[in-house]
């Protein structure tokens, strides 16, 4: 009763003053408490801290009750006193738009198993909703956790940190996170942020997700592959586990699709904290969107009042180029027309974190008081669309393109192509201008083009991806009938067919579509099936240590650094590591050099910088290697090496590559050509210019087949055609090949092998 009156007062805001004075007192106590000699004082409140939560009835709490607990001096989860910072954050949290609907949320949560929650960016849903659930689920009573998924690793980590701060707990204890190759949770963990892929991996071993009492799928509108699979799994699971609560959170207002998919689940919408954004279109289509974008930025700088600019472009090179040109033009504007200063920052995924942080720096001051405003201009990829929030943006320039992944099973090409964005994306981009005050969005296309050319929603990732990994995961998850698996947007049958076929060739699925022991083992690795199979088979080739290193290096972003202003030197450095037989071996050389330098105790950051290698990605590869090694050890996969001085050291590695990548082989078209033809799909490709291979080998195995404006194979290594027939006889059954040079060449090889065998036999 006392609690309730206290709560009412607080809600009406009358108690502000007294609360503050009380807090000051509390803080005084807290300061004393920090003194280790007074540590015994902390013990006192602990005696009754649990009673705070004991008063609450699980899945029947009210917002007032929860707020009362939050307002108390004692942290109900740790028994410690709340810090000064906690109350400061709490004050800010109470102002979030989502806070007004806490009771409404709880009512819906109590009465429904599945709930769709829509909150625009800035509503506070990602940090607050899981905490509201925490105070209602009371996981310490049931031992069941709350999971909140994020599409991106960085988001999972940073949100977990934020929420740990908000709850005044240590990250990794009551609040933790789990991402691929990194788990920061403990037995104390009650609320777990994780990538959607990670939850999917967990579900492989715990099909009922029995560790969780509530699963929150955040950023569901992004429709990542893992989120789509999770939604389908949770939909099934919701029938089996009636006690499991599911919340689907989305930032866009197309929630109807989610509602109807989840048995017409109720919807709760929270308005974001946004200001109106005025949208401008160009009167005519642009001939060069980069040029138009730069022009628009300069025009804003010249004519518009104070406020920062966010320009969306597609990729690293384009962004760096635009940044350079904008800076140059602004310098000229300053000299010639008394313009204000402008700092220009690039922002893209592969930018090192400390450089990404620079976007949060304050805009420069005008040159003199009352002078033309200074501002910052951020030139970003679509990571600035949803995942990163930058305050102070008032102007958005949107050329309407982004790089999007696309996969086509017909040629098995996977590419990042510059494509027009969707209407939903365009709205999201425009919304970025209204975070702090009313803003303007300049779309570099006509209104008609917006209406007619842009698709409504970006295609979900499941329609744009190779599904072999997904199919393997689904098999492991116990989904028998893949054809009728109830996905929100089922992929094309051809994509499924290709995935099944590939897994069959990799011997992960038998002809009936059942998981083989190899497939079962492969699914244990958080890797693509081809990589997993290569790794599992590597002991047969006496080089599992080396293949493990190569696999790790292929699982992280490019380790080679090639800055625009030092390309030549970077290439020279790379050439030092070059192995004549192939890029896989060059990677391995670089890794060995890295480990060698590390063993010598060198300053690794410096060493990497000098050798134009990415310290971040190499150390991350090292971490991945350790994780994969653990999995190998768990499953008894031997770690062996051929002695380095053995003449077969590199040959063994090259052969081992084929054990996983025999479907990714290309033959040179003719003796004087640079063009290669991929096996079976018969696509004409060039070797990517980043290669260190200089000899035009007849046969190569490649890691990726990508399409930019040309078709390239990237990361290639020389192989011998005999190995293909020996290592992958099923795939290289020549009767399945279509007529042509590749078949002819392989037939000749097969005959040669037969002759040699016959000779051997006759000798014996």
């Amino acid at each position: 009763m006392a609690d309730i009156t206290k709560g009412t007062k607080r809600l009406s805001g009358e108690a502000e003053g007294s609360q503050d004075s009380k807090r000051v007192k509390t803080n005084g106590d807290k300061m004393d408490a920090k003194n280790p000699y007074l540590a015994h004082l902390e013990e006192k409140p602990e005696a009754d801290f649990e009673s705070l939560l004991d008063k609450l009835e699980r899945r029947n709490t009210t917002a007032k009750q929860a707020e009362a607990v939050e307002d108390s001096d004692i942290n109900p989860w740790t028994g410690q006193r709340h810090s000064e910072r906690y109350f400061k954050i709490l004050k800010a949290r109470r102002k979030l738009p989502v806070n007004k609907q806490r009771q409404e949320f709880l009512d819906l949560y109590h009465n429904n198993q599945i709930l769709v929650f829509v909150g625009e960016t800035g509503s506070g849903k990602t940090t607050q909703i899981p905490q509201y659930v925490l105070y209602d689920e009371l996981p310490h009573q049931t031992g069941k956790l709350i999971a909140c998924t994020q599409p991106r690793r960085v988001a999972a980590m940073s949100v977990a940190q934020r929420v740990a701060d908000e709850l005044d707990v240590k990250l990794g204890e009551e609040v933790g996170y789990s991402i691929r190759f990194e788990n920061k949770t403990s037995s104390k963990t009650l609320l777990k942020y994780m990538t959607d892929g990670q939850l999917l991996r967990e579900a492989m071993h715990d099909r009922d997700m029995s560790r969780y009492s509530c699963i929150i799928l955040d950023e569901a509108h992004e429709r990542t592959l893992a989120t789509d699979i999770l939604m389908a799994l949770l939909k099934q699971l919701s029938e089996r586990r009636k006690d499991l609560k599911i919340i689907v959170m989305s930032a866009t207002l197309d929630a109807q699709k989610f509602q109807s998919y989840f048995f017409n689940a109720p919807l709760l919408a929270v308005p974001g904290r946004t200001h109106p954004v005025e949208i401008f279109y160009t009167p005519e289509a642009e001939r060069d969107y980069v040029e138009a974008a730069i022009r628009t930025v300069l025009q804003i700088h010249a004519c518009e009042p104070e406020g920062d600019i966010l320009l969306f472009l597609t990729g690293e090179e384009e962004i760096e180029d635009a940044c350079r040109r904008i800076s140059l033009e602004v310098d000229e504007m300053i000299r010639e027309s008394d313009a204000g200063p402008m700092s220009v920052y690039p922002l893209y995924g592969t930018l090192p974190p400390h450089q990404q942080q620079r976007i949060f720096e304050k805009a420069p001051q005008p040159f003199r008081p009352g002078g033309r405003p200074g501002r910052k201009c951020i030139v970003a990829t679509n990571i600035a669309e949803t995942s990163l929030t930058i305050d102070g943006i008032v102007y958005v320039v949107d050329p309407g393109f982004s790089k999007q992944k696309i996969y086509n099973p017909r040629t098995r090409v996977e590419s990042l192509l510059v494509s027009p964005i969707s209407k939903a994306s365009a709205q999201q981009r425009a919304g970025r201008a209204g975070r702090t005050r009313p803003g303007k969005c300049f779309r570099l296309y006509t209104e008609e083009a917006f209406k007619k050319e842009l698709i409504e929603q970006t295609y979900p990732e499941i329609l744009r991806s190779n599904l072999s990994n997904t199919v393997l995961e689904l098999k492991k998850l116990g989904v028998e009938d893949l054809v009728h698996f109830d996905l929100m947007d089922p992929p094309a049958p051809e994509t499924m067919m290709r995935a099944l076929e590939e897994l069959n060739y990799l011997a992960c699925l038998d002809d009936d579509g059942e998981l083989t022991p190899l497939g079962n083992l492969a699914s244990e690795f958080p890797l693509d099936p081809a990589l997993a199979v290569m790794l599992i088979s590597s002991p047969e080739f006496y080089c599992s240590n080396e293949i493990l290193s190569i696999t790790s290096l292929l699982s992280v972003p490019q380790i080679w650094v090639r800055p625009a202003n030092a390309r030549k030197r970077a290439d020279e450095m790379k050439a030092q590591f070059a192995h004549p037989d192939g890029d896989h071996l060059t990677l391995l050389n670089a890794y060995h050099a890295y480990k060698g330098a590390e063993a010598r105790g060198e300053d690794m950051k410096k060493w990497c910088h000098e050798h134009f290698l990415s310290y971040r990605h190499l150390s991350s590869a090292d971490n991945v290697r350790a994780q994969l090694k653990k999995i190998m050890e768990t499953h008894g996969i031997e770690l062996v090496s051929t002695p380095f001085h053995d003449k077969n050291y590199y040959t063994n590695i090259r052969r081992a590559l084929l054990a996983g990548f025999f479907m990714q082989v290309a033959m040179r078209e003719s003796s004087n050509s640079k063009v290669y033809k991929t096996v079976k799909d018969e696509q004409l490709v060039l070797i990517h210019p980043s290669t260190t291979v200089t000899t035009p080998y007849e046969w190569v195995v490649y890691n990726e087949f990508v399409l930019t404006t040309k078709q390239y194979v990237r990361t290639v290594t020389n192989i011998r055609p005999e190995w293909l027939l020996e290592i992958a006889p099923v795939y290289y059954d020549l009767s399945t090949f279509q007529k042509g040079e590749i078949k002819n060449a392989l037939t000749r090889v097969a005959e040669k092998i037969r002759r040699q065998q016959a000779m051997k036999a006759s000798k014996a």
């Binding site: 289509a285 696309i406 040629t411 083009a449 054809v483 099944l500 699925l509």
Partner: protein, 343 residues
């Protein structure tokens, strides 16, 4: 012997040519010939095979240009991308597995409620790969296409309209031709009138020398009868323009050169060096307004013609159509004023 040999070889040649021609025909029209060269090819002589193999080897050996390679790669890609795997690869094990799971050819996903609709489902295709090269903004391509389409439509419309009004078109063309013809006749008649007038003049002033010297100068425009005043005016204007152009060119040329003022220079020298601008004196009535002439010019060509012809008849007893100057005003023998009368 020496006589026969050439004939024989000639005959042989003839036979060879005949044979070649025959084979050429069969090669072109025989379907087998277009099949794979690994297959049996009827009627291929060793020479031809040799030539073909050499041609093929050459084609293989010749390094392809970048553009050719790109086109080839793109063609291969497009060919592969446009063919459904379900059709291209019906024996695929992947497809067999799917069939075991109950795939019958429709879309994947949850079984739709009733079986009736399932058969009609469209099979979703993989997303299309569209490569964007260049930095064209959104909508530019379609804007261009739209403009092309609009242009094509407009052209089509014009053509349609033209077809619909074909009769009218013919009529207009005929009328235009007729008008052009009449204008020519007007000019011709005007020339006749002018000549007649000059002849009259000459006759009158045959002995007056003083007047004859000035006869080079035409009289004031306004004194010329309106029926051919236009002719004179047009001629004078053309002449003046020509002269002005000439002066301009000369002047420009002169002014571009450095000039040297020499007081000793003779007038003739100056003229030769075009230092003295030759000015041509025209009757400055050329630019004067002439409502009478304007009125005449505004008439339709047949009316203009009628008036000139009438003028000739009345003043000189000349029939433009008979091309004859009758001795008296009766003009006996002339069928009449109009052209039709003379047909």
């Amino acid at each position: 012997m020496s006589f026969k040999l050439p004939t024989k070889s000639l005959q042989n040649n003839g036979a060879a040519i005949e044979e070649e021609e025959e084979d050429y025909m069969t090669m072109t029209f025989d379907d087998d010939a277009t099949g794979s060269y690994g297959g049996t090819r009827k009627h291929e002589t060793s020479l031809q095979r040799h030539a073909r193999l050499r041609r093929e080897a050459e084609a293989r050996a010749r390094p392809k240009s970048k553009a050719e390679l790109e086109a080839e790669a793109e063609a291969k890609r497009e060919a592969a991308l446009s063919r459904s795997l379900l059709e291209a690869n019906p024996k695929s094990k992947g497809l067999a597995m799917m069939a075991k799971m109950g795939f019958t050819g429709g879309a994947l996903g949850r079984r739709s409620g009733d079986n009736g609709s399932e058969g009609k489902e469209i099979i979703p295709e993989p997303l299309k790969i569209e490569i964007k090269d260049g930095r064209e903004g959104i909508g530019l391509e379609s804007e261009r296409k739209r403009k092309l389409r609009e242009a094509a439509e407009a052209a089509g419309e014009r053509a349609k309209k033209a077809r619909a009004d074909e009769g009218e078109y013919r009529e207009r063309m005929r009328r235009e031709r007729e008008e052009a013809r009449l204008e020519k006749l007007v000019t011709a008649a005007q020339k006749v009138a002018e000549r007649m007038a000059e002849e009259e003049e000459d006759k009158k002033m045959v002995c007056d020398e003083a007047k004859k010297t000035t006869s080079g100068h035409r009289p004031l425009l306004k004194t010329i009868p309106v029926v051919w005043r236009g002719l004179v005016k047009a001629r004078e204007e053309a002449e003046r323009d020509r002269k002005m152009r000439y002066d301009l060119e000369q002047g420009l040329l002169a002014s571009r050169l450095p000039t040297y003022e020499d007081s000793e220079e003779e007038d003739d020298d100056k003229t030769a060096l075009s230092k003295i601008q030759t000015t041509y004196v025209f009757a400055d009535d050329l630019d004067e307004e002439d409502p009478e002439l304007e009125e005449f010019n505004a008439l339709s060509p047949d009316e203009k013609l009628r008036r000139v012809v009438l003028y000739l008849r009345e003043n000189y007893n000349y029939c433009f159509w008979c091309k004859y100057r009758y001795p008296d005003t009766e003009m006996e023998g002339c069928p009449g004023l109009m052209e039709e009368d003379h047909e």
